[in-house]
């Protein structure tokens, strides 16, 4: 199956106004339809969230194959929970809570380090795919690669919870309350995690200027 094409919503105008009147977010409405047996709604949820979840997990574990495996578990767990789903919490927060759990468990169990040696090829491949730009010179591509490696190393060096907070903040654009929900802590704790994480990142990365070269 190729990148799945967005499918037209099965909601009618009337149903959409009812949804709006009830103040239900779109994801919650879709999830309730999944609960009632609508597989197409699950497919729509998947289309909306597949990318963000895989991307978050990829940056957490820095391995695309593992990230996709973990993301499969996340969506499977969402599907399994459909019968008891209640739209009382923001769907995205719940989804990222499950994703964060999976990533933190994976890192905690040490599968991350154990697999590191064999993951090197995959990481190298991912790097090459990211920096390869045919319009750039060899030197520019090398600079990009150095920059990317520094960024990856700096993120990798963060404690797991700080890493999760930064990734949700920087790349997934979740707000502080959503990050707090996903990490099961207060917003104050999230701010503290972010403060410490960015402090470490500034120490390691602030010397890189916008072109990726090191400032003297």
């Amino acid at each position: 199956m190729g990148e799945t094409q967005p499918q037209p919503s099965s909601l009618t105008g009337v149903q959409e106004s009812v949804t709006a009147a009830l103040g239900l977010e779109r994801d919650a409405e879709l999830m309730l339809r999944v609960r009632d047996g609508c597989t197409a709604s699950f497919q729509l949820l998947l289309e909306r969230h597949r990318g963000p979840v895989v991307h978050f997990l990829y940056r957490m574990v820095q391995n695309q194959a593992v990230a996709e495996e973990l993301a499969q578990d996340v969506f499977l767990r969402v599907y399994r929970s459909r019968a008891t789903y209640e739209p009382s919490a923001k769907f995205t927060t719940w989804l990222f809570r499950i994703a964060t759990h999976r990533a933190l468990n994976f890192i905690r169990d040490g599968r991350h380090e154990k697999g590191h040696q064999s993951l090197d090829d995959e990481i190298g491949d991912g790097m090459a795919r990211q920096v390869e730009d045919k319009s750039s010179t060899v030197e520019q591509n090398m600079l990009k690669e150095v920059r990317l490696q520094e960024v990856r190393n700096a993120i990798e060096a963060l404690p797991a919870k700080q890493k999760a907070a930064v990734l949700m903040h920087k790349y997934q654009e979740l707000d502080y309350s959503q990050i707090a929900g996903a990490l099961e802590c207060s917003e104050s704790a999230v701010k503290s995690l972010l403060f410490r994480a960015y402090e470490s990142l500034r120490a390691r990365l602030a010397h890189l200027d916008a072109t990726g070269t090191k400032e003297s």
Binding site: L76, S81, A83, Y85, S88, W94, K170, Y171, K191, S192
Partner: protein, 176 residues
Amino acid sequence: MAEPNRKQYYNRQFQMNHCPLASGEENVDILLDYCNRTLDPALVDIFEKHMEVCSACRAFSESQMAVWDALDAFEALPVSPDFDHKLMARIAREEESPWRRMWNKMTAGGTAIWRPLVPVAAALVLAVGLWMRNSGPEAATVADSQLDAEQVETALQDMEMLRQLTINEPATQQKM
């Protein structure tokens, strides 16, 4: 994310009587949002005036903005084209299992009256699974029941996560 939800956060009242950097981590969001270019424009003006006289905030902002831009280098890779296909195949396999069918029946309909009894139902499914594992002679069903017991357990964990989220969310929002 498909729908970044930061905007509503920025309506918070903010007094620049103190340096946000010196007034504790509670106000670090002002600095971070400024550097991420997502701070309310009204607050941007106030903060920029403050930075004219505060070298600490100025230095923080410069290095934080450099980091913010540097992090853009870490792009995500495209998701494999067969991701959905694999997932739907896993779901289809799982739905065929007799344990899953039993679980689905117990939780079907989504009627609120059933929901408090779901943990009891899950315990029942688990107990029957364990009993079958211990008494059944077929090696193949042992693996199946272990798998299904795990599935029921994870479904329960996810429900618990959602329940905790429901309890915690109003409290978190009040803090904003």
